[in-house]
């Protein structure tokens, strides 16, 4: 062994005992532009696929830095277009139907247009995509660049959205203090620019950080304050948005009756189809836990019939599978489980994790313990080691119950015990028109 340099492997290029990877990551200000996306590689830097994807995210972000540094008019068109074309060529390394490839290609298209608004929206879309797939460092970097670009282009509404995204990402990554600061900043900016819808959404993020710090009553107070302001403004869409935030808060706090009531109040006045579909999935889970399975099934079927987003569709399908298992309809359980599995592919990682959790619970209920274990382990694997999401906590609970062979963790009650108000809403929901959630 004498004379062999232990630093290098056979090919002479790659360090075997890497001295650099364990070093502390540099601050964003000290690293080269866009390097922060590589923070997601921490601990998995030898994973070739993760490395290739991180590199593509880095390359796709580089043209946006030029726009931030020089402005939309300051970057030479030829050079900019050539840079974008070369990144596009490199996207060919990913399979043609790869979701990430589509997301980055869409961003490059918008950047090439050199329209500030379109470029910022596209950057935020990639940020959201990265966040949903657990790449929080990349999500943060894309959101920061979109914020810089929005400020430079004086797109105040979009800069508010970017600030709120940063708060949400920090919360998802488990940085509660930072999330609180950013959410507060987003609220202040939205109020200062009279962006009322964004203000209510930012209050929703602020409430989420209060919940995270163990103060749900403060979160509820903030959301009720937002509802009061929305009523003062007399705008139905804003009132719907405030109700939707309260619905989400109640779902996170395990208050099923409140979820149904707030969700129902928001459903008819919410403007965005995606918001309505999200409320329906929350109501589906809440109604199921109250034993109002027909109404719950209706909520999920509305989502799966009408929502375009793969993420919402799989959550709806998985919810329907759990209901079929809980009512003992094995044929429908099998059929729905197969449908969910078929649609899992295009959905993002967080939605896949949530769907696997519901499928795991459903398999546990029907007594298929091996399948349940597989689904729950898949949930935990998809969520990865970062962030303490409610989905992870729930998956761990169910897995523990499964290993201890205790009774399935069904939260379902008898429908007779459901409050009158919830039963009335459930009856109305069962006859709700399919067109409530309109395909975009």
């Amino acid at each position: 062994m004498w004379g062999i340099n232990p630093d290098f492997t056979g090919d002479g290029m790659t360090a075997r005992y890497d001295r650099l990877a364990p070093l502390e990551s540099p601050n964003r200000e000290h690293a080269f532009p866009g390097w922060s996306v590589f923070r997601d590689l921490e601990g998995i830097e030898r994973d070739a696929d993760a490395g290739r994807r991180a590199r593509l995210r880095f390359l796709a972000l580089r043209p946006a830095y030029r726009l931030v540094a020089r402005g939309f008019g300051g970057v030479p068109a030829d050079s900019f277009d050539r840079q974008i074309d070369r990144v596009r060529e490199e996207l060919g390394q990913l399979p043609s139907r790869d979701q990430e490839r589509s997301a980055l290609a869409a961003l490059l298209n918008e950047l090439r247009s050199r329209e500030p608004q379109q470029s910022i929206v596209a950057l935020l879309a990639v940020s959201e995509f990265c966040e949903a797939n657990g790449q929080f460092a990349a999500a943060e970097e894309y959101a920061r660049v979109s914020l810089d670009l929005a400020r430079r282009s004086r797109e105040f509404q979009l800069s508010n959205t970017a600030t709120r995204s940063l708060a949400r990402i920090a919360l998802a990554a488990g940085s509660l203090e930072l999330a609180g600061q950013r959410a507060q900043e987003a609220c202040d900016h939205a109020l200062a620019t009279d962006d009322r819808g964004e203000w209510i959404r930012s209050i929703g993020e602020l409430a989420a950080t209060y919940r995270g710090t163990g103060d749900p009553s403060l979160a509820r107070d903030a959301l009720l304050q937002a509802l009061k302001r929305a009523r003062e403004w007399g705008n139905d869409a804003l009132i719907g948005l405030a109700f939707a935030q309260l619905c989400r808060h109640s779902a996170e706090s395990g208050q099923a009756e409140a979820v149904v009531e707030y969700g129902w109040s928001s459903l008819r006045v919410l403007e965005r189809n995606e918001d309505r579909a999200q409320v329906l999935t929350l109501m589906g889970a809440a109604l199921n836990s109250l034993g109002l399975t027909r109404a719950a099934d209706r909520c999920y079927s509305l989502v799966t019939m009408r929502a375009n987003s793969p993420a919402l569709r799989v959550v709806g399908l998985a919810g329907g599978t759990l209901i079929a298992a809980e009512v003992g309809d094995r044929d429908r359980y099998r059929e729905r489980r197969t449908a969910t599995m078929r649609e899992l592919g295009p959905a993002h990682r967080a939605a896949r994790a949530a769907a696997h959790l519901e499928l795991g619970r459903a398999a546990f209920v029907v007594g298929d313990h091996d399948t349940a274990r597989e689904h729950l382990r898949e949930t935990l694997a998809l969520l990865g080691p970062h962030g303490a999401t409610p989905t992870r906590v729930r998956a761990e609970e169910v897995l523990r119950a499964l290993e201890q062979r205790t009774a399935p963790l069904s939260t379902q009650r008898s429908s007779d015990a459901a409050p009158d108000q919830a039963r009335r809403i459930a009856a109305e929901l069962e006859h709700l028109a399919d067109s409530l959630v309109i395909a975009e």
Binding site: D7, E24, F32, R52, F58
Partner: protein, 261 residues
Amino acid sequence: MAIIAALLPNSTDREYLNAAVPPHQVLWADSWRELLRMVRRQPAGVVVIDLHAETRKDGALRVFRFTQRYPLTPVIAWGDADGRELFRLGKAGAIDVIFSRNADDPMLVREILELAHGRGLWPLIEAQLRSRIDGDALDVLRYATDHIADQIQVPELAVSFDVSISTLERRCERWRLPTPGRLLLWLRVLHGLRWLMEPGRSVESVGHQLGYSSGAAFRRAIKATIGGRGNPMRSTEVLERALTQFAGECGGSIPISQVMA
């Protein structure tokens, strides 16, 4: 004009860099060893390194070793790096990357070089003086700062702004700046103190880079500006104190009431 030290063995890469660097000057090294020697002897403002310049050498690890010795000299990595290598390069302290695919775009390469060069002493001086002296004075200071490494003297500074030495002196007086000679002395000392913060440099070599005949002459220049005797020179505090003293000596032409407003 800055000096760029480059380790690019490939002739095409050299052509690409040459196309993008004007008005800067490039010094070519043929090996890592030569590059280190070059940076020690020449006042390089930016270093460009081909990651695969030498076979059986880990490029990112070499960059890391370089940045340990010269932490204030920006290093730009050149070549095709995969995700892991980019991850390691960031940790190694590279200031930016030029991909081989983009190397034939002189605009893009120039932008990266300018951005790296902009991280030198000037941002520190500008931060101290921006609100206190007017735009023309800032231009003179910027030019002088950028050319200190070329051992610029007062006559050349005056010629660059198309004025006589006495006109430049009068303008400095009007801007409430030190005389042009004193200004250049200060800038040399500030550059020198900044370079001295890099462990790879000695007082003697920095003095030579700045045009002094010896290390002792450079020490006398330091004493004539920041004062003191036998004080340690290699620290951030010394540079910060020197910058504050320099800003104090530049009275500034903008009234203090306006600065406060």
